[in-house]
Symmetry: C2
Subunit: 364 residues, 2 copies
């Protein structure tokens, strides 16, 4: 993590801006929607680098905005912040329904901040596209963490398709890191696709599971378990403790049967309780051990570089995909093609090329 | 499965061709490369529907060919065969290195033919692109099956990219089914991507594993185990029997922890030995049970329809992908962009859009 002094010298590179622009914080928080001051990209960057979280929040709002003017400024901000990012530990967290994710993050987050770290918690929830996010929900479900001076909680961006959310999340990470947050938790709801996308942004993937082999366990999507570097069996307290410990052994045995991870790390399983504050310290210890292990082997850096290439390719594929399926001619043809496929009167390849011909005739 | 009589009546639909064209098989097999008779698409189709395996082989060669003239005829043949296909059970088989796939398929295949079924064994091996296939290898490693009158073994197509292989495999399935094969085994080498692709073509996925938690197990790619409907622990004979049975229990326990399959089927684990011919009958019984189960629930048909839609979309995405990355301007720009990504001087999204701008400027 960069020291504040370094940020100051960093600021001086940015066209002589040594101080964050003077803002009356009251004005910003009380009537931010009505009279938001229009900052330049450089003013935003200076504010972010100085750790001003009001400006950080506003910058993230710019990143999340779909207005073209905002997009342009946002891109400038992100670009200028990029050299000051990448100094953090990025952790993805997901879990089965009922595993108590919020309670866990509250306790876990308070432990991490207690260790002197600065923590940003971001939430990726593609389902919130409909509900327009759950800002209040996010703040209230982590009562103590949300008011902690070393913590910054940002609910899910609520616009656009999943890819948009991914992009916004990634850019929000850059801004948070530039603002001095050295630990980033990215919480996802267990819908499958968002985890895969978050996996291209985090160093470590933590999966919260519940003891019990019943239907609770079926809430997790296929493929998620294989991404986990650590499985935490939550709610290991009271009468549930023994069950959780048995589940832990069962998962550990199951994981032995699975292919080795390219990091060379053997995924671990651990029990914990957010209520009794048990096992939390140990979980953090395992994460630190992983970071140490992968930094020594060089995998940490290699993986981050790979991730940036993967994100680029994912963005390209998604764009090509949207360009194709949003094409008016293609759209109008799809129902008929799918009907023919259903009838079995056409091969998938012929169907594909009928649509492709349509698309490229328009494009060329 | 359609009866021969039905094929005959089917043949009569095809412009009055009631008999396969008269061919001297000796001529075809002895000097096939020198003087291959040029059939029309209709002659090919008639030959295939009559179960003539020499013509079937030749038609598959047409499907695998990359010559434009062949492609056109091949597409016609496939299209005309399509209505006579889909009457089989399609099984994907893969396994860890050392699991004895060939020996297993030999024994398993002989059992299946012994049940009165007609079996086609297709191999998908993208690595054979370099070695130009292993025709001899495939024939010799299944000594008895390769000369069995009810079996048809076709080694991997050896040209083009994986997508090409997928397409050719899918079209080969159509031809084999039209020729009356009611059981299709598609063997893949465990390289990951081909299994995923084969998964869009088969009704059932069988994974061969070895007992022992050592490095042998690490040969299987991540994600493959989750595709399995049945895991067979091979080489359960002699001193290895007990170890295999223990492994079977361990895998069964592990599978309990995993998410339910959309088919509603609980993946099973079973031991077998191809050498002592143990457990082979039981494995086939499980497959039949699965087919019965999914046909009753309607999943069998639903899944096949879904697969055809997925294959169409996969083909489209792959084509768009190739069109993009094979673009000369994009190609020349990629190394520089990747260097900037490595340096961390550019975000993945900016990188993506630099390439996309380049591409679409050419296209528009």
């Amino acid at each position: 993590m960069k020291k504040k002094a370094e940020y100051k010298s960093a600021l001086s590179i940015n066209k002589g801006i040594n101080q964050p622009p003077s803002i009356n914080p009251d004005v910003l928080t009380k009537s931010v929607r009505k009279r938001r001051k229009k900052y330049s990209a450089d003013e935003f960057v200076a504010g972010i680098l100085s750790g001003n979280r009001t400006i950080l929040s506003q910058a993230i709002t710019m990143v999340e905005s779909s207005l073209p003017a905002h997009c342009e400024t946002a891109q400038l901000i992100v670009e200028k912040c990029l050299p000051y990012s990448a100094q953090s530990v990025r952790i993805g967290i997901t879990g089965v329904p009922g595993a108590g994710k919020s309670t866990f993050i509250e306790t876990f987050g308070l432990y991490i901040t207690g260790e002197g770290r600065k923590l940003a918690v971001l939430t990726v929830d593609p389902s919130s596209e409909n509900t327009k996010g759950s800002i209040l929900g996010d703040k209230t479900r982590m009562e103590l963490l949300s008011i902690h001076p070393q913590a910054f909680i940002r609910p899910s961006p609520s616009a656009g398709k999943l890819g948009g959310v991914a992009r916004k999340t990634r850019e929000t990470i850059i801004l948070c890191e530039a603002a001095g947050f050295d630990t980033i938790l990215i919480e996802t709801v267990g819908v499958g696709q968002s985890e895969t996308s978050v996996h291209t942004m985090v160093d470590f993937f933590l999966l919260l599971m519940l003891a019990g082999a019943g239907d609770e366990l079926q809430g997790i999507k296929r493929g998620i378990m294989e991404m986990a570097d650590l499985i935490a069996i939550t709610k290991a307290d009271g009468l549930n403790k023994l069950v959780a410990e048995n589940a832990s052994i069962a998962y550990q045995n199951a994981l032995y049967l699975f292919p080795k991870k390219s990091s060379g790390w053997s995924p671990q399983v651990h029990t914990c309780s957010a209520i009794t504050n048990t096992g939390i310290k140990e979980l953090w210890g395992i994460i630190m051990e992983y970071i140490d292990f992968t930094k020594k082997s060089g995998y940490f850096e290699t993986f981050r570089k790979e991730q940036s290439i993967i994100r680029m390719h994912n963005t390209i594929i998604e764009y090509l995909n949207n360009s194709f399926y949003d094409n008016r001619d293609v759209k109008s043809m799809v129902p008929d093609i799918e009907r023919q496929l259903h009838e079995g009167s056409i091969t998938s390849y012929k169907a594909a090329f009928k649509l492709l011909d349509k698309y490229f005739k328009r494009q060329l």
